[in-house]
């Protein structure tokens, strides 16, 4: 009876009973706050994305031209007498230069391109590296003397700039290196297929060049310098960092001394990199007497800088391994070391590897400490001869090379600086990709 009487008329009579179909004021406010918060988050992400897109667009737009280069293609007959005469003269390259210019003149005449310029003025179309390039070829291939050889000579940086839209007729009005009249010829030469812009491998693999020859400059030698430095960093920072973290995290007693060490490792991570640079200069070069500007010194300096990063991330990933795993291992009679190396370390490995690669990536992009130990950009002009020379001979590194180019006056170098940034970013992205893959590969659940 009572069951039947309650739901009927009693419910509306109270009047205060809230309906689930109507939101009360509190819930409305709460929902509004949540919606606002989500909106803030989305806006923040959008702003971040905008910056990223702007950055990428700027880098690609400014840097992409560095990967192509304008070349002048000429077939030159290597006459034995002419070469003998050139080698006998005092300034050997000048006669090679004459041969190239004569060939250019002859080729233009053959194509029906008319000009009243003399050979020397016309030669400004070519990079001043052209004679050296030809002579090097002759010295390396003496057996080809007497044949007709096709050469791809670099065009001068102004011609290259014209082809990329950086140089205009107006900007050349008062330029001593090239005149607007040259550009008319360049247009015709391009039509005749003598001047052509192609992919520029020597930007990726070449060496730095002098201030006056941006068209010849490449980042390859600096890349090698970076590579040898990273070898040093990896070989030192990974084992030292991981060993130190394992000791601190798993074995060290908890006392004042270890606390002190712990605090100082965190402090080291916050030290500006230039301080590590001056430390490297004082310790490795002045005290120990290692050679200046050598990748081994750069590597040692960057190792100091990378160690705290590796230690901190390794300790964090060791901490993240559940203590029950350690207890399980100890419980079946494993020693402390066995429990660490058989169980804890494998589980911490993805984190350790990620931390190491992030540390390496930081080191790869570091510029300031390198400048202090003399690894400045213009040093990267020769490939090292072998492994020992790679570690010990003066070299630069990619970021220092980029900085060097950005500093130089000629806009052609500015373009190369951006191009260098693209290569550096490609390396960093590859490293991050490896970090992600390793993480996937080693990740296990418990």
């Amino acid at each position: 009876m009572s069951d039947a009487s309650i739901p009927g008329p009693a419910a509306p009579a109270t009047g205060k009973k809230s309906s689930l179909l109507e939101l009360d004021a509190r819930t409305k406010r709460r929902n509004a706050a949540e919606t606002r918060f989500k909106a803030y988050g989305i806006v923040a992400i959008l702003i971040g994305l905008c910056f990223l897109v702007a950055l990428l667009v700027a880098i690609v737009r400014n840097g992409a031209p560095a990967f192509t280069q304008t070349f002048v293609t000429l077939d030159i007959e290597l006459e034995a007498e002419a070469i003998e005469a050139a080698e006998a003269s005092v300034v050997k390259t000048s006669q090679y230069r004459d041969m190239i210019r004569a060939e250019l003149m002859g080729r233009m005449a053959a194509e029906g391109i008319e000009t009243d310029m003399d050979a020397n003025t016309l030669g400004q179309i070519l990079s001043s590296s052209e004679a050296g390039q030809m002579r090097d070829f002759v010295l390396e291939n003496p057996d080809r003397i007497g044949e007709t050889v096709t050469f791809n000579f670099l065009a001068s940086s102004r011609v290259d700039g014209y082809s990329k839209g950086r140089v205009t007729r107006e900007s050349l009005e008062r330029d001593p290196n090239l005149s607007p009249a040259h550009l008319d010829l360049v247009d015709q030469l391009e039509e005749a297929g003598i001047i052509e812009r192609t992919f520029n491998w020597s930007f990726v693999f070449g060496a730095d060049a002098s201030d006056s020859r941006p068209e010849q400059a490449g980042i390859g030698v600096a890349m090698i310098g970076s590579f040898f430095m990273m070898l040093v960093v990896l070989a030192l920072a990974l084992p030292i960092g991981v060993a130190a973290s394992i000791y601190l995290e798993e074995f060290a007693p908890q006392n004042r001394f270890t606390d002190f060490i712990e605090v100082n490792i965190s402090n080291l991570a916050a030290v500006p990199s230039i301080v590590f640079g001056i430390l490297g200069l004082a310790v490795f070069i002045q005290l120990v007497g290692l050679p200046q500007s050598a990748p081994i010194v750069g590597g040692l300096t960057l190792t100091l800088m990378t160690l705290p990063t590796i230690v901190i991330s390794t300790r964090a990933s060791l901490k993240a391994v559940p203590p029950s795993i350690r207890a399980a291992a100890l419980g079946v009679g494993a020693s402390k070391m066995q429990s660490v190396f058989h169980h804890v370390l494998p589980l911490a490995l993805p984190g350790i590897l990620t931390g190491t690669i992030i540390g390496l990536a930081q080191a790869l992009g570091e510029t300031a400490p390198l400048l202090l130990i003399g690894m400045v950009g213009f040093i990267a002009s020769n490939y090292p001869e072998g492994v020992a020379s790679g570690f010990l001979d003066p070299n630069s590194a990619m970021p220092a090379q980029i900085y060097e180019w950005a500093k130089r006056a000629d806009p052609a170098f500015y373009e190369r600086a951006w191009g260098g940034i693209i290569i550096l970013l490609l390396f960093l992205m590859t490293m991050n990709l490896i970090a992600i893959l390793l993480r996937r590969r080693f990740e296990r659940r418990w």
Partner: protein
């Protein structure tokens, strides 16, 4: 008739496996275990009961020196295993733990295959000369832990992929694989459902034939079901230690009685 007499006698006069005297444990300043004397017999299930925080786990960890891994823990007194002081300077806790196995509250299989979980102990102690012997140990241990039938077709599957009750039995198999003499279990069923609990309890009763088993439990029914001896701890003291039947029907101490009847908890 004679046979029956003999077995009865052997049940009554069991060897003392572990004998603890005057055991004190401190965590820094906290005095967690006070003056505990206990004698644990071979081929017996001994249950430690008591309200939570009374020191059951702490005392259990003294028996295989797991307390050594806690920096601030300090153990005093003597604990003899077969008459040898396990806290003697010459004793390596690693060797001790192979003899005194442990099963933990939360199932904690290694994130490896079922086979590797069980084989880990025998491997590090060099108990098998070749793969065949190791296979044999793994099978025997899994059989002892009543897991063989469920696991024999998936030995290479990850141990973490088993159900909670199976994981705990895997941990028991892992513990018995090193041929321990004593098996310590710290609330082995507290993370399990009633069916899995029943299976593990049955298993504990079987394990008694080969081992001396010490089990910590917060469930009095469980203690009553599986153990022959029961020790009641309260605030770090061992209040009463006797035959399980006696503790549950006719306790001597009033604190035991209040706990049993649900007045302390």
């Amino acid at each position: 008739m004679d046979d029956q007499r003999l077995t009865e006698r052997s049940v009554d006069q069991k060897e003392i496996k572990i004998s603890a005297k005057n055991v004190q444990v401190y965590y820094g300043e906290t005095h967690a275990i006070k003056d505990v004397d206990v004698e644990i017999e071979d081929n017996t299930v001994t249950a430690f009961i008591g309200p939570s925080g009374c020191g059951k786990s702490t005392f259990l960890r003294c028996l295989n020196r797991m307390n050594d891994t806690i920096d601030i823990a300090r153990v005093e007194g003597t604990i003899l295993l077969d008459g040898e002081d396990i806290y003697d300077k010459r004793v390596d806790p690693v060797q001790l733990r192979a003899k005194v196995g442990m099963v933990f509250q939360k199932p904690n299989p290694f994130p490896k295959s079922i086979y590797d979980n069980v084989a880990y102990g025998p491997r590090i102690h060099g108990m098998a000369k070749n793969r065949a012997e190791l296979d044999e140990i793994v099978e025997k241990s899994l059989r002892r832990a009543a897991l063989w039938d469920e696991a024999k077709d998936r030995l290479q599957a990850p141990g973490t992929g088993l159900s909670g009750g199976q994981q705990q039995r895997l941990c028991i198999a892992r513990a018995v694989a090193t041929e321990p003499e004593v098996l310590l279990m710290d609330e082995p069923c507290s993370a399990l459902d009633p069916i899995a609990t029943g299976q593990v309890e049955e298993l504990i009763d079987e394990l008694r034939t080969n081992y001396s088993v010490v089990i910590v439990t917060h469930s009095m029914q469980q203690a009553a079901r599986v153990s022959q001896k029961t020790a009641f701890f309260h605030l770090g003291n061992l209040v009463e230690f006797d035959e399980t039947g006696k503790i549950f029907t006719n306790p001597e101490d009033s604190r035991t009685e209040s706990y049993i009847s649900g007045r302390i908890g």
